[in-house]
């Protein structure tokens, strides 16, 4: 079931981050971003749906996308820690988005020739979406990092807060030895080049991480994920099988 577990990890990354950005809907600092963030959330949730559907079929136990998304508890979620971090301020949200997209864009590039037709199909579409997320979030990282004294301080705080979660992106997790999926470790040079390019323009320094945070792929999460899942799953748990 290694491929099932590996696809589930990918799906969880996308659903959790998609839900996180959707929390901004109606609360963004300006109308333009209030539309842009749900756009990004819908890209991620759309990818998550295809991946959950695929995972359910790989598993062959009759679990569909809704069962996988709405009935698993915190310890069963296999997303990396970066995506579950709380939104914080706009700097944290944009930096988190930039870090994730800078990883996923080259990842999907590498997955485009996957022997698994569903993965290859998702990759072809998602690579364009991630390219735009890099651009959108990256431009904000630059604007805030190289902006006013206050915006620069907030962006530096965001880097200090989030950078420790980026190492986990490159752990192979359940995909270890899976031919159908790219090696995560092999994405590191592309990720570092993208981040270094934006950091140079943003006057930000790449921090040295002493204690990298990890554990998400084994279901060991921060406190934030449980609260998020409780809110995301409450309706499906209160009314199992409800349709509209």
């Amino acid at each position: 079931m290694a491929l099932f577990d590996a696809v589930l990890e990918l799906a969880d990354d996308h659903l959790v981050l998609g839900h996180r950005i959707s929390e901004w809907c109606g609360h963004a600092p300006m109308l333009e971003e209030d539309l842009a963030m749900p756009n990004m959330a819908l890209d991620l949730i759309g990818t998550a749906r295809v991946l959950y559907d695929h995972a359910g079929k790989l598993e062959g136990q009759g679990r569909d996308e809704d069962v996988l998304a709405y009935t698993r508890g915190e310890r069963e979620y296999r997303n990396c820690l970066l995506v579950e971090r709380e939104n914080g301020d706009f700097a944290v949200t944009m930096l988190r988005q930039f870090y994730f997209a800078a990883f996923m864009e080259p990842y999907w590039q590498a997955a485009a020739n996957s022997s698994d037709a569903v993965i290859a199909g998702v990759a072809g579409k998602a690579v364009k979406e991630m390219a735009y997320h890099i651009r959108h979030a990256g431009e904000w990282v630059i604007r805030l990092g190289d902006g006013t004294e206050e915006s620069a301080a907030k962006m530096r705080d965001a880097v200090d807060e989030l950078h420790r979660y980026t190492g986990e992106l490159f752990e192979e997790g359940a995909a270890e030895g899976e031919d159908a999926l790219p090696s995560r470790a092999s994405i590191r040079p592309a990720w570092e080049a993208t981040v270094a390019g934006v950091f140079a323009e943003a006057n930000l320094e790449m921090p040295e991480v002493r204690y990298a945070q990890t554990g998400g792929r084994n279901g060991i999460h921060g406190e934030a994920l449980g609260h998020m899942l409780a809110e995301m799953q409450v309706l499906a748990r209160a009314h199992p099988g409800a349709v509209w």
Binding site: L31, E32, A36, N39, H136, E139, R143
Partner: protein
């Protein structure tokens, strides 16, 4: 923030061969963010193949007080409209 953020006019070309059409306006700090915002706000339903943004302050507009002298003189010159001959069907969209 809105007080300091410039206003931009957005023009979208729906298909190749058609011209850019004004679709609305938005706020953005500079031209790069304006293009991004235009993409996010005005092309969510596959409306476009190309985007232009122009700072609203750069638009030179005609004076509404001169509307009569500008536009009314053309009202009675119906011979300027191509309505006195039939367009063959094969010509299609004109």
């Amino acid at each position: 923030m809105a007080n300091e953020t410039p206003l931009w006019e957005v023009f979208i070309r729906p298909r190749n061969g058609l011209s850019h059409k004004h679709v609305g306006s938005l706020h953005a700090a500079d031209e790069v963010l304006a293009l991004n915002a235009a993409r996010d706000v005005y092309t969510r339903r596959s409306e476009g193949t190309s985007i232009w943004v122009v700072r609203s302050s750069q638009i030179v507009a005609s004076d509404p007080d001169q509307a009569e002298e500008n536009f009314e003189p053309t009202g009675d010159k119906i011979y300027r409209h191509p309505t006195f001959y039939d367009i063959p069907e094969e010509v299609g969209h004109m």
